[in-house]
């Protein structure tokens, strides 16, 4: 295989983009959200019936008109959003559309299981192929997607932000799989917002901006500032602004002691065991840990998202005991949460910016039993301007905005409730570099105004730069608490993988581990 040439003149979403991918190379696509990376990949994987320009595969022009056709040509794609059927088994999912059949036309269950087991082994997963996908964790599901893409005779693999849901250790595993693939001569097109990752895995990088082609560089010779400059089209001073330090005697806003949550295998909810966390006014505290360490669960427990019965422990707000009963209760007491999954948990995508932004704060705009639309509009306009949400107007449908701007609408929704404690779960996931910097600036501004911020992130540099203190979780327990001075990536990772020591301590942990290993 020699490569792919391609151009699309005169299309709004994508115009005149060139991309040459060689066999055995990892080619990164970089660009802000809305730059056209996903569109380009969708064209390559045959998701659109028509496009302009030409695609050549191994020197021969090909027309890509359906995902099935692309798959037969050896082009596989892993989408940003997982596309597995939750209630079907792992094997059924991996071989969906390519089920081996017996001579009588029945699905050959045994061959299917064997084939799936081989593919799972290829991606380094030890799972029972008969297990339903619903019971697998997100990271496992991501690797199952990869196994699914491998099921055909693969020549080109396209990965759209495969690591956005993974913690660092799982990213390593994914990279190992990618390296074995490239060694076999597979060409990989790789999209990610994490520059550190690209420096490690990518050979070449192509930058897109506003649907146009900006340039291609060899990854080895590219420096980070130059790439960011190419992406945003303007030089960006420093990605992470310097934080202001907080006085150690500031009052404690939120304190959770012996926070315990019962686990739920059906929904994949991690159990929490005696988690102690506190956040002072004006402080930004980070929660670090691997996938399934219980970071999200800590936020959700405090926010009351799991209901009053599943959570035990003592929570105080400004020293006053508080029982997390429901999100409604939490909001009334000055808490606000930016949930992990923007599309599924935070936004009514089909409705307007204004509807979404004011949803949690409607009580404020109540007048004579109705919503005072003028006051609502003023407040939303103000917040949209303050957060610099780029939208055609507050009546624009949220689903049409880019990821970064959607996230800012979620932030606007939280801020309109005037929270004194802000819980952020992966606030910069799937957000482009420019918007990320703006979100960091917003966090700093809020902290300066005295808001207590508890934040979960899978990106360690982000936590290190932003947080005054970092609490590390592993399997639902706190394994380290590091000040900004003593926190390093290595120490965080060591604490996050302190699984062994935890295991010998309680029997409950061990059974969990066994279940997982099976």
């Amino acid at each position: 295989m020699r490569g792919i040439g391609k151009s699309f003149p005169g299309v709004r979403a994508l115009a005149g983009v060139r991309l040459d991918v060689h066999a055995g190379e990892v080619h990164a696509l970089l660009g802000e959200n809305g730059a056209g990376k996903s569109t380009l990949c969708n064209v390559l994987s045959g998701a659109f019936g028509s496009y302009e320009g030409s695609v050549e595969l191994a020197g021969e022009p090909v027309a890509l008109h359906s995902p099935g056709h692309a798959r037969r040509l050896g082009i596989g794609m892993i989408h940003q959003e997982l596309t597995l059927v939750p209630d079907m088994s792992v094997a059924d999912n991996i071989l969906l559309g390519a089920e081996p059949r017996t001579r009588l036309g029945r699905v050959d269950a045994r061959r299917m299981r064997d084939r799936a087991a081989t593919l799972l082994a290829d991606v380094g997963l030890r799972l029972d192929p008969r297990q339903p996908v619903r019971q697998c964790r997100i990271a496992e599901q991501q690797l199952i997607e990869l196994a699914k893409a491998l099921s055909g005779d693969l020549r080109v693999l396209i990965m759209d932000e495969p690591t956005s849901a993974l913690a660092d250790a799982e990213v390593r595993r994914l990279f190992a799989v990618i390296r074995t693939l490239t060694a076999r001569g597979v060409a990989v097109v790789y999209i990610s917002h994490r520059l550190e990752e690209l420096e490690e895995i990518a050979d070449t990088v192509t930058v897109l901006r506003d649907g146009g082609y900006v340039g291609t560089r060899a990854m080895a010779g590219a420096d980070r500032a130059e790439l960011i400059g190419m992406m945003v089209g303007r030089p960006l001073g420093e990605l992470y602004p310097r934080p202001a330090s907080v006085a150690a005697d500031a009052p404690v806003r939120l304190r959770a002691e012996r926070l315990t949550l019962t686990g739920d295998t059906r929904t994949g909810r991690t159990a929490l065991h005696d988690v102690d966390v506190h956040v002072r006014a004006g402080e930004i505290v980070g929660l670090a840990g691997l996938m399934g360490a219980g970071r999200t669960e800590v936020l959700e427990s405090v926010y009351g998202a799991h209901g009053p019965r599943a959570v035990t422990g003592r929570v105080t707000l400004d020293g006053v005991p508080y029982r997390p009963r429901s999100p409604r209760w939490a909001i009334r007491h000055g808490l606000a949460m930016v949930a992990e999954d923007r599309k599924a948990q935070s936004l009514v995508l089909g409705n307007t910016v204004r509807f979404n932004a004011s949803l949690a704060a409607l009580a404020r705009f109540r007048r004579y039993g109705r919503v005072d639309r003028r006051a609502e509009g003023r407040a939303v306009d103000e917040q949209v301007a303050a957060l610099r949400v780029r939208t055609p107007g507050t009546q624009a449908v949220v689903g049409t905005l880019s990821g970064g701007n959607q996230q800012k609408v979620v932030l606007a929704k939280c801020l309109l409730t005037r929270p004194s404690v802000l819980l952020l779960d992966e606030p910069t996931r799937g957000v482009d570099v420019g918007a990320k910097a703006e979100i960091y600036a917003i966090c700093h501004r809020l902290a300066e105004q005295g808001t207590a911020i508890l934040m979960v992130s899978s990106e360690l540099p982000e936590l290190l730069a932003l947080c005054d203190r970092i609490v590390v979780l592993c399997e639902g327990r706190v394994t380290a608490e590091l000040d900004r001075a003593e926190a390093t990536q290595e120490r965080i990772l060591t604490a996050a993988m302190a699984r062994g020591t935890v295991l010998t301590r309680t029997a409950a942990g061990r059974t969990e581990e066994e279940v997982h290993d099976r």
């Binding site: 005169g10 299309v11 709004r12 979403a13 994508l14 959200n33 809305g34 730059a35 056209g36 996903s38 569109t39 969708n42 064209v43 659109f48 028509s50 496009y51 302009e52 506003d210 649907g211 926010y303 998202a305 429901s326 999100p327 409604r328 939490a330 909001i331 009334r332 949930a339 599924a344 948990q345 935070s346 936004l347 009514v348 995508l349 089909g350 409705n351 509807f355 004011s358 949803l359 949690a360 409607l362 009580a363 109540r366 039993g369 109705r370 919503v371 639309r373 780029r390 939208t391 055609p392 107007g393 624009a396 689903g399 049409t400 905005l401 880019s402 990821g403 701007n405 929704k413 409730t417």
Partner: protein
């Protein structure tokens, strides 16, 4: 779509937004287009008869009780639920109203709230089943459709109850006479406006629509209804008590069915044990023609009102033209399909692209928006 948003701000925001607004307006206008078409068809084929007061009165009056059901149904559909039991609730409420009148000789102003309460209790049962017991709305209301109808038939012993009760002097009793007002036979649609008397079924329908629309667009409850239907998880995390909203819409739906019951009984001058059978289908059809999405979060009472008018006037026009019942059913079904297809702006956009491409044949073809 992400690409569009960036380009919109970069190049020509006003032009693009204006165009988009026009497209979505077209999407919401399709209901009126349908209404205009039906009216035009009626006027062209049966001008005088169709437009006569008595005809319009009959047409709308006959549909009023179903229209009220459709309003409640819309509330439920907006939360991504469905209520199949509205017809049975109406039947039971109409039976209760007739029996209260005949057996207890109660005045209408007592009967009406009693029936509404009765409906609200039934709706509450639906709501509790779908939230606390986590039964899917379709299944829960399919079950209660059967249960409520059974209670209705048990109460009446499968005999219909006439509401025109004569006193000892051979005339209608006072209460029966005033009960008739709910159905108001003999009044005309527009005489009420002029002052000679109000045509209550239609007035009730219009009032229910106005109140419903205001509640949806102006109040916090209305916003919450849209949020629960649009994204339940997001609504819950935004502090909306989603269970309470769902119970509320089911209860309101039952309450409206209870309200429509006496109107239906008075209109037909008797409560039939089978009254209201398959009304739920008309109610759902009206909501859908009016732009409601069964996936929730999209639709309005105004739309449902227009949808109900289309259905009733279409019935009327086809009847006036002596189209057979069988054919009427086929046409009504097709109308639903056409209405739903027209509501999708992306389809209109695709069609527009196609037209443009055909018009510009020879020039390089454009793929349009690839989002």
């Amino acid at each position: 779509m992400t690409g569009d948003a960036t380009t919109a701000t970069a190049e020509g925001p006003t032009r693009l937004v204006g165009w988009r607004r026009a497209v979505s307006l077209l999407g919401s206008l399709q209901g009126y287009i349908g209404l205009v078409l039906v009216l035009a068809f009626g006027i062209v084929t049966r001008g005088g008869t169709f437009l006569s007061q008595s005809n319009l009165t009959n047409a709308v009056g006959a549909f009023a009780s179903r229209g009220i059901l459709a309003v409640g149904e819309t509330l439920v559909i907006l939360t991504a639920g469905i209520d199949l039991s509205v017809g049975s609730m109406l039947g039971l409420a109409s039976m209760v109203s007739a029996m209260l009148l005949v057996n207890q000789n109660l005045p209408p102003w007592v009967i009406l709230p009693a029936c509404m309460l009765c409906g609200a209790v039934m709706g509450l049962a639906n709501g509790i089943g779908t939230t606390w017991l986590r039964i899917q709305p379709f299944v829960m209301t399919l079950a209660t459709l059967s249960v409520f109808r059974g209670i209705d038939r048990q109460l009446s012993d499968n005999v219909s109850v006439g509401t025109q009760v004569a006193g000892a002097d051979g005339k209608l009793t006072g209460n029966a006479d005033s009960f008739q007002l709910f159905g108001t036979p003999g009044h005309n649609l527009f005489t009420g406006v002029v002052g000679a008397g109000v045509y209550y079924p239609v007035l009730a329908f219009v009032v229910v629509c106005v109140v419903g629309q205001l509640a949806l667009s102006q109040t916090r409850f209305g916003r919450h209804v849209y949020a629960v239907g649009g994204n339940e998880a997001a609504a819950r995390l935004s502090g909306v008590n989603t269970d309470r909203v769902k119970i509320a819409v089911f209860t309101l739906c039952g309450l409206l069915a209870g309200f429509a019951g006496p109107i239906d009984a008075a209109y037909s001058a008797s409560a039939d044990p089978l009254a209201g059978t398959s009304y739920e289908l008309d109610a759902i059809a009206a909501a859908v023609i009016g732009g409601a999405s069964l996936a929730g979060g999209r639709g309005s009472i105004v739309g449902t009102f227009v949808g109900a008018l289309i259905l009733t006037l279409l019935d009327n026009v086809l009847g006036l033209n002596a189209v057979s019942d069988n054919l009427q059913l086929i046409i009504k079904g097709c109308i639903v399909v056409v209405a739903v297809v027209l509501q999708r702006p992306d389809l209109l956009r695709g069609a527009a692209d196609f037209v443009r491409r055909v018009a510009r044949r020879g020039a390089p073809a454009s793929t349009g928006r690839s989002s």
